[in-house]
């Protein structure tokens, strides 16, 4: 029996839960997803069946899943978070052994109607695991080294597995998502400062070691970094994606070229135009006005999540909401930085917009958890 269950009588039951759903959040999500449908329709050259139709089906299924997850009491999810985490780890190991190889990386498990990426699922089971860990942990022990090491281990285990696939983008997301929960739970800032300094030191070492006998990376890895810092140096090779993406964005100008009029995407100059680079098409066809509006929509979703976390007096629920929000934020930030030439090209999709089944479904389940926490919050 926990604190939550004490207050169960203040929690809505039955169909009344519908009234307590965080509807603004649902509307905002649907709005963003709708932009996604339009863009997928546009980049396929006006074909509905190529990507847009399937994306809508997945979103519909996702909404259903979200409500199912939302109506299950949050304490149930807290109680199963350990199991969920373990299942995810097992699936990650499974995908390493039996998974399907696509694009040189083992990421997929085929479960009939959908190919499934366990690494996607891991993002939120990790958040659940960490939230329930901090819910359980005595608050006075949060910053003690032993009790800091345990969640670090919980983060590192799946990260290493995902890195082995290899999927740099997702493993980075796992680290940042996990760290966000730890941060929200109140782990001493000194730990974060130390990690940041360590990371900064490593970067510095990598750069200063270049050309010396104790060089830390291979030459080709340095040349990739160079290309990232100056894509114009290799316009047809490594730099091609990012240059074309910037051209698409920039040529959209203030108000864009109009729906279905984006020459960069329509004429195939853009790589991955329906997945990681879908934002460039938004920017090209709807200009700064459209792109900034989309950014504002994302900002609003994040704001609602933060407010929902602040409203929630339950520790697990608040940490979970912040974890999901942080995940969403990192995805958006890394993806947009990437397509705008502010970060290296790592394979990170744009949540709710990029074409992709399992990422969308997992995200909807994540929102389901948020809604569950919101509906069943102590009042």
């Amino acid at each position: 029996m926990s604190f939550l269950e004490y207050r169960v009588k203040t929690v809505p039951s039955g169909l009344r839960k519908v009234l307590y759903v965080n509807w603004p959040l649902v509307l905002l999500m649907t709005a963003v997803a709708t932009v996604g449908f339009l863009m997928l329709y546009s980049v396929s050259g006006g074909r509905f069946d190529l990507w847009a139709e399937r994306q809508m089906q997945v979103f519909g299924l996702g909404l259903l899943l979200m409500f199912v997850v939302a109506f299950v009491p949050i304490w149930f999810w807290r109680n199963v978070s350990g199991v969920a985490y373990l299942v995810s780890i097992v699936l990650l190991i499974g995908v390493e052994l039996f998974g399907e190889t696509r694009g040189g990386a083992q990421r997929w498990i085929d479960i009939g109607f959908i190919q499934f990426q366990p690494s996607e699922m891991m993002k939120f089971t990790l958040v659940m695991m960490l939230a329930s860990y901090y819910d359980w942990l005595d608050m006075k022990k949060v910053s003690r080294p032993t009790w800091v090491l345990a969640p670090v281990a919980l983060i590192i285990a799946p990260t290493v597995l995902v890195l082995m696939q290899p999927n740099l983008g997702t493993s980075l997301m796992l680290v940042m998502g996990g760290a966000s929960v730890m941060f929200a739970a109140g782990v001493s800032l000194w730990y974060f400062a130390a990690v940041l300094m360590l990371a900064g030191g490593t970067v510095a070492a990598v750069f200063f070691s270049r050309g010396t006998p104790w060089q830390l990376l291979h030459d080709y890895q340095y040349s990739r970094i160079d290309t990232f810092l100056n894509p114009a140096a290799d316009p047809l090779g490594e730099g091609y994606n990012i240059i074309q993406a910037k051209i698409a964005l920039g040529s959209g100008g203030w108000s864009g070229k109009g729906f279905m009029q984006g020459t960069q995407s329509r004429l195939n100059f853009l790589p991955e135009k329906h997945t990681d680079f879908i934002f460039t098409t938004v920017a090209e066809e709807f200009g700064f006005v459209g792109a900034f509006s989309l950014l504002a929509l994302y900002g609003a979703i994040l704001a609602f999540l933060v407010v929902a976390a602040l409203q929630n007096k339950d520790r697990f629920s608040a940490l979970l909401i912040l974890g999901v929000g942080a995940n969403l934020f990192f995805y958006i930030a890394v993806n947009l930085s990437m397509v705008m030439g502010m970060a290296p090209v790592v394979g990170v999709p744009l949540p709710l917009l990029s074409y992709g089944g399992s990422a969308m479904l997992v995200l909807m389940v994540g929102f389901g958890l948020v809604q569950s926490a919101h509906i069943h919050r102590p009042r």
């Binding site: 029996m1 941060f183 700064f288 950014l295 994040l302 933060v306 976390a309 520790r315 930030a333």
Partner: protein, 647 residues
């Protein structure tokens, strides 16, 4: 574990603090992303818009239609022919091998053609059309069109290519076109981008080359949208090409054809001018060649045949060939002496058959001598000694000056290739060229158009036209551009006394119309067309004293290339000159026998506007002339032969 209300409060406070810190970080990041968006999409929008357009838009040139070259009456000399070809597109063809095999059964294709087609197809992207067969006959072309359903990806196309319907008649004048070479591009300071189009052709020699700028026209262009791999998506805008100008030459195709045929297989040149305006009516050089061979890409075998021929078919002898003018130069020497006043019309010289000077004997062509000779007789009978004598008196510099006034030793600017300046020597010239003093013997040689004097058939025709009219006649080759007349320059008087000129012309009259004249047998009997002229025979070898002692070897005993050049210049009608003619027959022997009859036939052709009438010839010659004229290989096919049209 059960948590107290106090714990819960602490937790919420802690989380709130951290959540606010996180949202602050998020807001900062979102602001940074927004700023970056603004920078790319607002501040740098113009630059990126340009880059996107460059990505998307490709400008393709539309080659212009080349201007036609026509004769003075509008007959086509160089035109554009529809060229039927077959192209294949790999991605539409599917199974290229099968399609090619079917195609090879329909139209003539050698294994090499197929091999080349395969190589081209493999080399290019799937959507690039490759020409597999070119210059097909209409029949073959229709076969391909009819069988289109069985030939996926095969498209019969019509293009334009240059054709010279009068082939060898105008090879030297009109020239020919060929593909742009690296050298062509290097020679142009600012090459027109249209030259970069594969297989684009430009003028290589002759009018085609020298009037290239007018004939070429301006390329049109189409702006097309292409995708990332360069495939054409759609045409956005099209600017039509400006066709090249149609150029009408002064040449009359019929006279040209007659002249070319009349020269026959000889290595010879003939020029006919209208003395009233300088229009060149015919400018023939033989043997000639078919310029169409060059347009299609001449084979090594054919090319070697042309270059190895000792009659030099590729050379345009009318402007490029220079020959000692021989006795045709005597008018210049006479005019120089008369103009300088060192002799008068009535001055005479005694010709004993030679002139001795400084221990050297300069022979007259007539060993026995002409006796007492005046100007008229010296021309009519072509006495050499008379000119040795007057040349010494007037001096080379005056002779050279007169030569230049008459158009020798200078370039006449015509749109033709390799126009020679010839040589009109004087003292300074020899000093500069040979670093030697001018000797009196040089003057004596020059007096009769030997030695250093070199002239082209064109220059001789100009000289004759100027003597005939007393005006500075300038030759011209272009009559109209795009239907607009090119005005002929106003006649400028030569500045030589009219009476002097009349006397010289009278001498030229006697050459042909007095029984003792050297070209009496080439006279024109028709009173209205009286012919006046001058023969010339120029040596190409030195005759040694020993040979002279035993008797000069006759031309027909010598190998071809050691025989004398035969020359003739003339004008007609005598009373009211209209046409001037010059003929040079390389190694033809004597001017009176080899060149004068040719000149007569050609000038008669010009005067009678077609094949000369027998009545114009002296009665005794008509039978022989008739046979000769009938045997001429004249062009019977009219110039504008109907070409197959696409239906």
């Amino acid at each position: 574990m059960r948590r107290t209300a106090r714990d819960s409060e602490d937790s919420a406070r802690g989380i709130s603090r951290r959540a606010l810190m996180m949202s602050g970080a998020m807001a900062a990041m979102v602001a940074a992303l927004g700023a970056r968006m603004r920078y790319l999409q607002v501040d740098q929008a113009d630059e990126f818009k340009l880059l996107a357009e460059e990505n998307r838009i490709n400008i393709r040139l539309v080659p212009p239609r080349r201007g036609q070259i026509q004769d003075r009456n509008g007959k086509t000399l160089a035109g554009n022919e529809q060229n039927y070809r077959v192209v294949i597109t790999r991605e539409d063809a599917g199974d290229v091998e099968t399609v090619l095999a079917r195609l090879a059964r329909l139209i003539p294709m050698t294994p090499e053609d197929l091999e080349r087609a395969r190589a081209d197809i493999a080399k290019n992207s799937a959507f690039v059309p490759i020409t597999v067969a070119d210059r097909l006959s209409w029949d073959d072309f229709s076969k391909v069109a009819l069988n289109a359903p069985a030939l996926p990806g095969v498209i019969p196309e019509v293009g334009l290519s240059r054709i010279y319907p009068l082939d060898s008649d105008f090879a030297h004048v009109v020239g020919y076109v060929g593909p742009v070479s690296e050298k062509d591009l290097e020679n142009l300071p600012n090459p027109d981008p249209v030259l970069q189009i594969p297989k684009f052709q430009i003028g290589k020699i002759g009018v085609e080359r020298w009037l290239e700028d007018q004939l070429r026209g301006k390329a049109g262009n189409k702006r097309v949208e292409v995708n990332a791999v360069g495939r054409l998506m759609r045409e956005i805008e099209r600017v039509e090409d400006t066709p090249g100008s149609d150029i009408r030459l002064t040449i009359d195709a019929d006279i040209q054809n007659f002249a070319q045929a009349r020269l026959g297989e000889e290595s010879a040149a003939a020029v006919v001018m209208d003395v009233t305006n300088g229009d060149i009516l015919a400018i023939a050089s033989s043997p000639s060649f078919d310029p169409n061979l060059f347009v299609r890409g001449i084979s090594h075998k054919d090319y070697n045949l042309l270059t190895e021929d000792d009659h030099r078919p590729l050379a345009n002898k009318t402007v490029q060939g220079v020959y000692p003018p021989g006795s045709t130069f005597k008018m210049v020497t006479a005019l120089a002496a008369l103009d300088a006043g060192v002799i008068t019309i009535n001055s005479t010289t005694r010709c004993p058959g030679y002139l001795e000077f400084g221990g050297r004997r300069f022979h007259c062509w007539k060993r026995a001598g002409h006796g007492t000779v005046d100007l008229e007789r010296s021309l009519a009978e072509s006495c050499d000694v008379y000119y040795y004598d007057i040349a010494q008196k007037v001096g080379i510099d005056k002779i050279a000056e007169m030569g230049r006034r008459l158009g020798l030793g200078m370039r006449h600017e015509l749109p033709m290739s390799a126009i020679s300046e010839g040589t009109m020597p004087n003292k300074a010239w020899k000093q500069e060229r040979h670093k030697q003093e001018w000797r009196i013997g040089d003057t004596i040689n020059a007096a009769i158009g030997q030695g250093y004097v070199l002239t082209s058939p064109l220059q001789l025709a100009v000289m004759t036209a100027r003597i005939a009219t007393g005006n500075v006649v300038e030759p011209r080759l272009v009559r109209m551009v795009d239907g607009r007349e090119v005005p002929a320059p106003d006649a400028v008087p030569l500045g030589v006394d009219a009476e002097t000129l009349r006397q010289v012309r009278a001498g030229m009259f006697k050459v042909m119309n007095s029984e003792r004249g050297t070209a009496y047998s080439s006279r024109i009997a028709d009173e209205a067309m009286t012919f006046a002229g001058k023969t010339g025979t120029s040596q190409v070898r030195n005759i040694s004293a020993a040979e002279r002692a035993t008797g000069v070897i006759a031309n027909d005993q010598l190998p071809w290339n050691r025989r004398d050049h035969a020359l003739f210049v003339g004008f007609a009608p005598f009373d009211n000159p209209r046409y001037a003619v010059s003929v040079v027959v390389e190694h033809g022997g004597g001017g009176s026998a080899a060149a004068a009859p040719v000149a007569r036939d050609i000038i008669l052709c010009a005067m009678s506007g077609g094949i000369p009438k027998l009545e114009a010839y002296p009665a005794s010659q008509r039978g022989r002339i008739e046979t000769m004229l009938n045997e001429l290989n004249l062009r019977s096919v009219q110039a504008d032969a109907p070409q197959p049209r696409r239906t």
